[in-house]
Symmetry: C5
């Protein structure tokens, strides 16, 4: 589905509706470029674009079927970029990934969104309000999109961070929960997220270093900033991963302690109860000659002894830390 199709002339959007064929013609003019936005396009929709801009069939295939890893590829006079967008569903503690694929030529930029990808509408509006930037050509659009995608990693990262702190509290709060599953699932999200973000580090570095003539020199410093942001995301994710591994271990220690505490306490109760039971057993024996049995205060005395023994044991167990 073609979502938007526009011609930019000297950094300003040309008025009026533009259809694909107008776009093909007008973008060839000096200083003009076309920006065509699509959402999960079909092969047929892509057909005329492919012929007009001489897009490489492999890139087109990727753009239609998606599910690529982030990458930047150069085909003759075209650069093809795949980005993964990330959004954190806090209720399910799951990172939702979308995909944006971009064809960048001298006088055109094609953007293809798949799945839950952040809408590019705001990016377009922000750019259109800054003709100075748009004058740098499609490279400026590329930067604006990559920048937005990477900026959108931050809330996802923060969401993960908040959940990790929650899980830390769960583990160390002394409560009875065993968040092993939650820790494991968070780790999986962190690994998935990193697989979406890390492969972009190197391409943005190359963009920042100005390996591509298609990107205006002025724009390069901005890619350095994006690259920096990505490294930060990557380092944070690596650190999350390390932390989650440690929490999993610490959780095991906490559970072991807590559960053994319980067993120890119950065993201690059994042990304390066993002592008066034993004494009662003794005075339940049927020997003919048991002088205590005839004592007037034999019974209350024995009860007192039982109580005293229990108290002594209780204090002893308490001191030994068993209760």
């Amino acid at each position: 589905m073609i979502v938007d199709c526009a011609i930019y002339e000297d950094g300003r959007r040309r008025d009026g509706r533009v259809d694909l064929h107008d776009a093909y013609r007008q973008c060839r003019q000096d200083g003009n470029f076309a920006w065509i936005g699509m959402y999960e396009p079909t092969e047929e929709e892509f057909d005329s674009l492919q012929r007009e801009f001489d897009l490489h069939p492999l890139a087109v295939e990727d753009a239609i079927h998606a599910h690529q890893r982030p990458k930047l590829e150069v085909f003759d006079e075209m650069v093809f970029i795949v980005l993964k967008t990330a959004r954190y569903e806090d209720s399910e503690e799951v990172v939702q990934f979308g995909e944006i694929l971009i064809f960048l030529g001298e006088d055109y930029i094609l953007t293809v969104r798949h799945g839950e990808a952040s809408a590019l509408k705001q990016v377009r509006e922000a750019l259109e309000s800054d003709p100075e930037l748009l004058r740098h050509g499609p490279g400026a659009v590329l930067h604006a999109i990559v920048d937005r995608v990477v900026d959108d990693y931050s809330p996802a990262l923060q969401g993960l961070g908040v959940d990790i702190e929650e899980v830390e509290n769960q583990v160390f709060s002394g409560g009875r929960s065993n968040p092993a599953e939650r820790i494991y699932r968070l780790k999986r999200e962190v690994l998935d997220f990193n697989r979406a973000a890390a492969p972009l580090v190197e391409p943005t570095d190359r963009l920042a270093k100005g390996h591509y003539a298609l990107v205006h020199p002025e724009v390069r410093a901005y890619f350095r900033d994006v690259n920096d942001h990505l490294i930060r995301v990557h380092e944070q994710l690596e650190s999350y991963r390390d932390l989650l591994t440690s929490i999993l271990q610490a959780n095991l220690a906490q559970i072991t302690v807590r559960q053994n505490d319980d067993v120890r306490r119950i065993s201690a109760i059994v042990a304390i109860v066993a002592v008066p039971t034993m004494i009662a057993g003794i005075y339940g024996m049927n020997f003919e000659h048991m002088p205590e049995l005839t004592w007037t205060f034999g019974y209350p005395l024995v009860l007192a002894v039982m109580l005293a023994l229990c108290a002594v044991l209780y204090r002893f167990f308490r001191r030994a830390g068993w209760l």
Copy 2:
């Protein structure tokens, strides 16, 4: 065993049966090349091929005995490639590996299959229906084979992924199973698979970068795609490995919790039963002076006290989370 032997002229298969000696002669003609397919050939079968195409004895040895790690080697005017094919046997949760070894010369391509390697028949049929591609020479055939082999990694990868999810559910379902062995065996499969796939990353990168004149420039971009696919497989496997390590740890936590839960509950039952036993013991003592024994309602009272104590203990243990 020679499975198929054909001459391609300008991208089209020459009609009629071709035997080896026709192939040797005809492939030398401009624009022609021979594609000879073998299955677990013997030394004798390889003999004339080796002499005719001047194949390096080491490569021939590899092709006959197989069990190589994936690699790409250059011998003067020949490129020798070893691929590992992978097929997932879901019933046994085992990845079955086969081997395809390829000799690539200017005017010939020899393919040797070993073990459970994916049949190349479909590859050949697909190629023969696209003379445009075949015109790029044996390099195009090489790409088609590598592409197929790597594509076939996907279902194996998915099979592993599904089994990992199953094992996650087993661990976290709260059931009584201990899937430690299954986790361990999956990890071994993941390691084996990675040993088959990862060494191909670098050779396909070199093919994509066009280090070999034997591969037509048009075909290079396609190798970039294969390389990308391989990196994705490799990253996914690394991530599986990391996850399986974490599951093994989480499994230990789950088992510890579950088992201690049991022991705790049983101990709690013993503790609750111990209390009325103690009381019964007390009233089983043979003291002459035990006033309660003569009370008319002594017995039901004691029974009531016992029940009440058990109820109190039950509620206390319940609240403490011990039952």
Copy 3:
């Protein structure tokens, strides 16, 4: 907020109050340079500086909003450096981070502090007392600041080291504490600290190798020293991280041992008490023909047997290491 603004002429501070506009004019003169220090400046405060020194908007944005990872970036004739300062709050076992951002030009150096960053006042005073050094230009100021920041890592590192030793003692002392949470939190601080310090290793190496004309050759050797210091910090942190992982494991072993010791001892008590209870039970049976019951010394004999059995069991358990 502008904290201090000074002009240095031939390594000496010019007398009298200098406002921004004096600074702009005077720093252009040969051998002069301006050092303007700010604390969490607003966009407005930065405005004239940006215009006057032609600072890149991205760097300015970073300087105002902070929260960057340490880095060194080159913009045409300006070098932009981000440093993380670290201070260890021993009471909370938390490393507090601040940020210092530096703009370095040929005739100016702008320093921007954020958060808990070490005050630069002492750095300025130390430098002003050494005109020889200041004569090397703003690069000497840069070195002095980086050196101070990195020097300030040492007490933080030592604080962590002391707490790690404390936690080691806790784990191995035989006490009843379970410092899993403390170990985990220390590990998190170590990871955070490393994320603040490690990214500086490479930029200081580049400064030491003299990639930047803005830094006087004489100053380079001093950056080598700073770089060395940073590598030491980084290696120490890596080693802390490894140690903390091991302590977490050792802690689990210690807890397991300690807790099982307890359960074993309590169980042993129950077992010892169970034996006389059984004997008492036997002589509590109501058989008509139990000769022992009529013996004159039956009762004391049985008591003696009970005691003897308990003693034997006690010794046996003791020898088996169960008590």
Copy 4:
């Protein structure tokens, strides 16, 4: 001890006994080279060799004292290579290492064996039956030795593999063994083996790339093959190491499960027995008014109740998975 000393002329061994001094003289002739084999030589035995071939004192020292790590060093016109041989003692599950040190010059090759090194006699015999190869000079001998040493890694590797599978079966068989020590010792062997094999990867790569004029170009492809074999060994060992770490963890899980199973079952028995004990206690109380005691069928009724309760408990515990 000098084991064998021979002169090869145009790929053929010269007849008759050759002593060292003949060898020194004859090897200088065009197309000739000497191959002198030693076993744990003394300093004195090495003396004349060192003077004659101008061997570097450091290499000679290494050759006499051995215990080097595998390496390849270049001294002017001599190449010095250290190899570790490996043999697996299956009865003790220990890899035995030997050492072969080789001095390679233009017209000589000196081989020094230490410890359990594979005898080189077969290598020599195999080579002497292939004059074509020997004509390539001492480099061909070097290849034959390295090839043999690396080939001999395979049975050792397989031996380890078999023992790892055995240990897997031990862990997962459900038996009562705790093979923690065996796993640990296997891991140590794997680490030791890797320290013997891995350092050879890089030197054989250099030999394959033809960095050394002493090695005939024809022989280089053969070193590529050896290099490939070594990488396979190295990757397999890395994978063993990873697997053994996982088995150690899985073993802990298995042991925990098995042992807790036992404790749970015993506790369940105690709990079941406790219930009739309690009931018996109740009817052992001495209350005057206990109507049940006078019932004619009181006793069998109570016994029946006890049995019924035990049966109910047994089924309940069974269902809860506690028995």
Copy 5:
């Protein structure tokens, strides 16, 4: 403190006492060089040396305060090297580190020892007995010192190795000790040792590759040997580290097994004792109609049944592996 000060002329030590000022003058002569040895010098003692040899203030600061990481730095015409010496205190299982700092110029070498550094006296004596070597200038002295320091790593390494074997035996011996603390402390020593040794690998490699004109070409091969030795030390330490991590895990498994064995056995005793207690309880009931009670041999029969049941249980528990 200046420990020794000598002038070497053509490889021979000049007779008679030489004070600093003689040394400054005489070392400038062709073929001469001075070797000045110090122990923990003060700033004042260093003063004239710094001026005379134009030493860089940063290196001088390092030499006085020590606590550097091993490194090699180049200042104009001087090379500055920091070495860590290691000595193993077997009684405390602690590696003691000292520091040797060396200034190497064209005609001088200054050696500064700190802490427990191996005395350099023997090195000096060994060198003075080999004028051939000393003629190669101060570079030969540098090699002799580095060689000695690295050689001294071997006994420390062996000491660690012996203690690791001891700890292995402790873990697997079946005894009751829990060497978790010892394992942890050994790991810390291994990490510390590695931090002292590993940073030297790269500088000695550079010295071996002859990057420094100050080092005579003849001496370079000797640095290759030292470098090799260092890599061996480093690899051994890495392997120790890996092993200690595994021992810590294996120790946990051993402890778990041993402790659970105990608990299981004690529980089994309790279970066995519970059965006769229950039977005794039954015959202690006060039912009027209990025929067994009046049997003449009722009592011995019941005792026999109790014994038989205990025996059966014992055998059953034994077979189940619970006792």
